[in-house]
């Protein structure tokens, strides 16, 4: 496998792990309570952007196109 593909896949996995942690809420907190701070929201959005950029990069590699420099975080 092209090492670029493996590297990008791990970037996606890392971003998803970060997103999962940011969105985790204590099950004891009442359902109506807002728990995600703006800072955590920003981190979650950054994780999504990282994952999107890596997937875009992967798609380019798999399609044999220009790899370019996907946005790095």
């Amino acid at each position: 496998m092209d090492p670029t593909i493996g590297r990008e896949l791990y970037r996606v996995m890392d971003a998803l792990v970060a997103l999962k942690v940011q969105l985790s809420c204590d099950p004891h907190i009442p359902g109506e309570t807002l728990v995600l701070s703006a800072e955590k929201s920003r981190d979650a959005c950054e994780a999504l952007e990282t994952a999107s950029a890596s997937i875009k990069h992967l798609a380019a590699v798999l399609n044999g196109g220009e790899v370019g420099d996907a946005s790095r975080h």
Partner: protein, 149 residues
């Protein structure tokens, strides 16, 4: 006069900025101190010889070198013998786990499914350090989710 206990000192060996930030925010929220970080094995080894942290969080796949190189150097050079060494990796398979433990890791976690446990462990160790003050760690008496058998 009573000595003020030092907070837990943590070093992070991780090439993913997003995971590093996650760990850093957890370390700070737990009242611990991030004393340094590196995305490659050589810098980490050099830093760890000088910094002597209480806790080292180690990814296996790095920008250059690997987490195994870091563990091996710590073991061979007896750097940070009392530090707790925690491996957090996407390569969570028995072979890597066994190699990590044979190189002195105290814990081994799967990044995809066990990162929350590592974050909880950081909090538990920081609290333990505050309670214990500056007394050295007893490796046989600790809190947190150690998974070495």
């Amino acid at each position: 006069m009573q000595e003020i206990p030092k907070p837990l000192q943590v070093y992070v060996v991780e090439d993913s900025p997003i995971i590093r930030r996650l760990l850093t925010s957890t370390i700070e929220a737990a009242g611990a101190v991030l004393v340094g970080h590196s995305a490659n094995a050589m810098t980490a080894i050099a830093d760890l010889g000088a910094l002597q942290p209480d806790l080292i969080l180690i990814d296996i796949s790095l920008d250059s070198g690997s987490g195994f190189d870091v563990l091996r150097a710590l073991q061979e050079r007896n750097l940070g013998p009392s530090a707790i060494k925690v491996v957090l990796t996407n390569h969570a398979n028995p072979e890597y786990q066994n190699l990590s433990f044979s190189l002195g890791a105290d814990s081994f976690f799967d990044k995809a499914s066990e990162t929350s446990q590592v974050l909880a462990l950081i909090g538990a160790l920081a609290a333990e350090k505050r309670r214990r003050g500056n007394q050295p760690r007893d490796p046989d008496n600790h809190e947190g989710n150690y998974n070495r058998n």
